[in-house]
Symmetry: C2
Subunit: 173 residues, 2 copies
DNA sequence: CCCTAAAGCTAATGGTATTAGCTTTAGGGC
DNA sequence: GCCCTAAAGCTAATACCATTAGCTTTAGGG
């Protein structure tokens, strides 16, 4: 996909028109503008990552589920560097499809937490930590923020081990 | 500062020229272009956040240091929403000032980890987790990614509690 | 008092987004 | 088979932003 080839911020109407072999203004017959394009991509990418996370969680629980879902999340970000940032766009409240996709993604994490006995407000907090941790990692990684000569895969594994430990001691709200 | 008022991505040469009451091309007498402007902002902001983190760590250790530094980090991001993203730009390898600032910021986290008995490669991993966790949180927060009606400050505190727990069980590489 | 270097300006070029209005084209109904 | 319409495409024009080139002003040192 074009977004993955050129990067999220360079996904421009001009680039898309060039790719499609069409004049730029012609695109306005299909999309309202550049922001609407990013919005459409967000819905697509959010649904995709929700699928990926759900599939990774299937048939697993506890630490195994946590590791699998975290790895699947990071793999999606690596495989789709242009789509991934679109998954972080706040869901459009007027788009049921977008809201549903976002909820499915969160649901995959919620399911893991049930395996740790974490529920209710505590699960909201724990889900936020999951997202912050994994999103922060892949974002810093993509930005070249890890300069030291230490294996990044190893750091990720250790981070998820740390997250597992945190969840085991999470307790109620 | 203009960056904080208009946002990092809208810090444009045109906006800066307007603010300074000067024609746009005149800025090229002071800065090489828009990328150089962002680079200069990155150096400034990185040095600032390094100061903030160092100050928060001073005179504290262990969990108290962790909490203080994490809170200071998040407060900086809130206070300077336009400067904060600039702190995440990978340091320019040719700019000693930038490299030194980035190293000071990392150093503040490293110092905390010594209090947990975490050193060497394990400390590199743990530092990466700190950055991922806190950066991810403030980024999602700024993007409006936390939609549920659960207090965000509370989630942050619980996350840092979780990080504390992870570090206490961190062990060697 | 003059001369130079810094700082500013206008003009011109090229890229992206957007709107307006015209043209082509493919398909359905008669 | 023919016509009519709606979708999809196009060109032209406008508006920003970034960048380069080349000219002008200005302030300070010799």
């Amino acid at each position: 996909m074009l977004a993955d080839e050129v990067g999220h911020d360079r996904l421009t109407l001009a680039a898309l028109a060039g790719r499609l072999g069409v004049a730029l203004p012609s695109l306005y017959k299909h999309v309202r503008g550049v922001d609407a394009l990013h919005q459409k991509l967000a819905v697509l990418a959010t649904a995709e990552i929700a699928d990926v996370l759900t599939a990774a969680a299937a048939g697993r629980s506890g630490g195994a589920a946590l590791r699998a879902v975290a790895a699947a999340y990071r793999a999606y970000a690596h495989r789709h560097p242009g789509r991934y940032p679109a998954t972080q766009r706040a869901p459009d409240p007027t788009d049921p499809e977008h809201l549903a996709a976002a909820e499915r993604a969160v649901g995959a994490v919620f399911a893991i937490l049930r395996g740790y006995g974490v529920e209710g407000d505590a699960a909201v907090d724990a889900t936020r930590m999951f997202r912050a941790t994994v999103h922060g990692f892949v974002t810093l990684e993509a930005a070249g923020g890890f300069g030291l000569p230490r294996d990044v895969d190893r750091s990720f594994d250790r981070m998820i081990d740390g997250l597992d430990l945190a969840y085991r001691g999470w307790g109620p709200g």
